[in-house]
Amino acid sequence: MTVETTAHKEEAVYVYEAPVRIWHWVNALAILVLGVTGYLIGSPLPSIHGEPSFHFLFGWIRFLHFTAGYILAVGILLRIYWAFVGNKHARQIFLPPVWRGSFWKELVHEVKWYAMITRAPMKYAGHNPLATIVMHVMFVWTIVFMIVTGFALYGEGTGMGSWQYTMFSSWVIPLFGQSQDVHTWHHLGLWVIVCFVIVHVYAAVREDIMSRQSIISSMFSGWRTFRDDKPMDDRH
């Protein structure tokens, strides 16, 4: 006697191409290093004693910050390039379809899902509208802001005549009024990124558990798998 089982239909969509996945994790690591070293540059560790020629602690912290900053900046440039040549999901966080009425309607639905008013989330192969808008505003723009102000502050050290100074410091510092204000805003940017990371990690874990699609494993494998075979809501 055999037991008849119906075939379990599980659709999978290839969402995150390899460059996007590699960028995601390199970028995450760079942000971690930048956040920690950046905080320590603003609020240094307790003073160490001994001959200054034996130590280079603060120098190393700053070196790590600058190196991670370069990696982040180059990564963002490559990521923007990939938004042009990659699949449609690669463009999503750069171009939220704010001109589309359905985007806002679905955004409201997603907010309701997070407010626990609706019982089930909609189903997306890519990011849901709430994730798209948060990543666009809190991540993309903040990172661009941090790169621009970061290079402006870095250019102050490399000095007039350096490309960092010419391309960034020369107009960013006067725009803010003076160097100290650029420092202040760069600090504020760190905290925006910290808030983003908290929200991002929490939402990813929560969605992974509670929604109908894979989240965390997708950023390793690239494939989005689903728990049901409901039609997708982002097939425009």
């Binding site: 240094p44 603060f58 007039m160 160097s179 420092h183 202040t184 808030c195």
Partner: protein
């Protein structure tokens, strides 16, 4: 014909040897090669003195005080004679109507050829009544002098940025020279600092005399030769900064050992000036060398950026004054707490939902 600088110097009993020494030291101070020393000498021997009107608006005269203490060889005696300082109410002999008559005389005689040196700035509110000179608002005197001058030097942070009299809430609406509405559009060189370094002031004048033009200016109108680097970039305590050795309190071991003042609020890393290279009082010392952090007196709006001992600008609108780290840290804690609470509620809902499903 007006006397040349050299004539004036010789008349004052300065030897040719001292004069040439002055020229080469000035060349060095301006960052020029040794070949420029004879050029400076030549200029001083042949060029007539440039007439200067030195006007005082709302200010404390610290710029003048600094200027007359220029310890540069001969400067104290000579610079005042080098330029034909036709009017400077704090140090001129004439007073009252005679003094004021000189302004009109200079404007008439050297129309379009004199330099207008502004110390302090004009208040705009109440028709400029907060600063009256010879019975008239300073604003009028400034505008008239600016109309006929060749170029303007903004001495100090007052003329350059506004300084203390322009600090919030600025009831008199004290306004830096380059922002005065209706002022003739003349080239302006800013020499900020409260006060500027004496040698920087004399060097700027010497440069203008020698080359008959302004030195190269940065985007904000300051001479690059003195304001292109931060105090921090040339600070003699910089090795302690890189090593991670900081003064934690003004009376600790680190303070006695001369560690970096970054953690007690030194604004050297955000301040563009020449203090750590040219120094003060004839190169004797500068604030950081005396054990006190730089508080950024040559930066725009330094009075309004919060404590002199804080490296972040105060952000208003959060009740009491707060800085970026306090606001950001609070936001991060709130977001973290919200995420945790949301996670808890989600777990409960999910448990209930599942219970309902079965």
């Amino acid at each position: 014909m007006t006397e040349t600088f050299y004539d004036v110097m010789r008349r004052q009993g300065i030897t040719r040897r001292s004069f040439l020494k002055f020229c080469s030291l000035t060349a060095a101070a301006l960052g020029l090669g040794p070949s420029f020393a004879p050029k400076i000498a030549e200029a001083m021997e042949n060029k007539p003195r440039i007439p200067v009107l030195w006007l005082h608006g709302l200010e404390c005269t610290c710029c003048s005080e600094s200027f007359i203490r220029s310890a540069h060889p001969l400067a104290k005696d000579v610079i005042l004679s080098m330029i034909s300082l036709d009017y400077d109410d704090t140090i001129m002999a004439a007073a009252g109507h005679q003094a004021e008559a000189i302004i009109d005389e200079t404007i008439e005689k050297y129309d379009g050829n004199y330099i207008l040196a502004c110390e302090g700035n004009p208040p705009l509110n109440q028709d400029g009544m907060s600063c009256i000179i010879a019975g008239k608002p300073y604003l009028e005197q400034l505008k008239k002098a600016a109309d006929h001058c060749k170029a303007i030097i903004s001495w100090g942070s007052c003329a350059s940025w506004g300084c203390v009299q322009a600090a919030r809430p600025n009831p008199t609406q004290a306004t830096p020279i380059h922002k005065v509405p209706g002022l003739a559009p003349k080239p302006i060189i800013k020499v900020p600092g409260c006060p500027p370094i004496a040698e920087v002031m004399t060097a700027v004048i010497t440069y203008i005399l020698t080359f008959e033009r302004f030195p190269e200016l940065d985007r904000q109108g300051r001479p690059k030769m003195f304001y292109s680097q931060r105090i921090h970039d040339k600070c003699y305590r910089r090795p302690h900064f890189d090593a991670g050795q900081f003064v934690e309190a003004f009376d600790d071991e680190g303070a006695r050992k001369g560690y970096c003042l970054y953690k007690v609020g030194c604004k050297g890393p955000t301040t563009y000036n020449a203090c750590s290279t040219v120094r003060w009082n004839g190169g004797l010392s500068f604030p950081i060398q005396s054990g006190h952090p730089c508080f950024g007196c040559s930066e725009d709006g330094f009075w309004d950026k919060g404590s002199f001992y804080d490296r972040l600008t105060d952000i208003h609108g959060f009740g009491i004054e707060a800085n970026a780290d306090k606001i950001g840290g609070t936001a991060a804690v709130v977001v973290g707490a919200a995420a945790a609470a949301h996670a808890g509620i989600s777990a409960i809902k999910r448990a209930r939902y599942k219970g309902g499903d079965e």
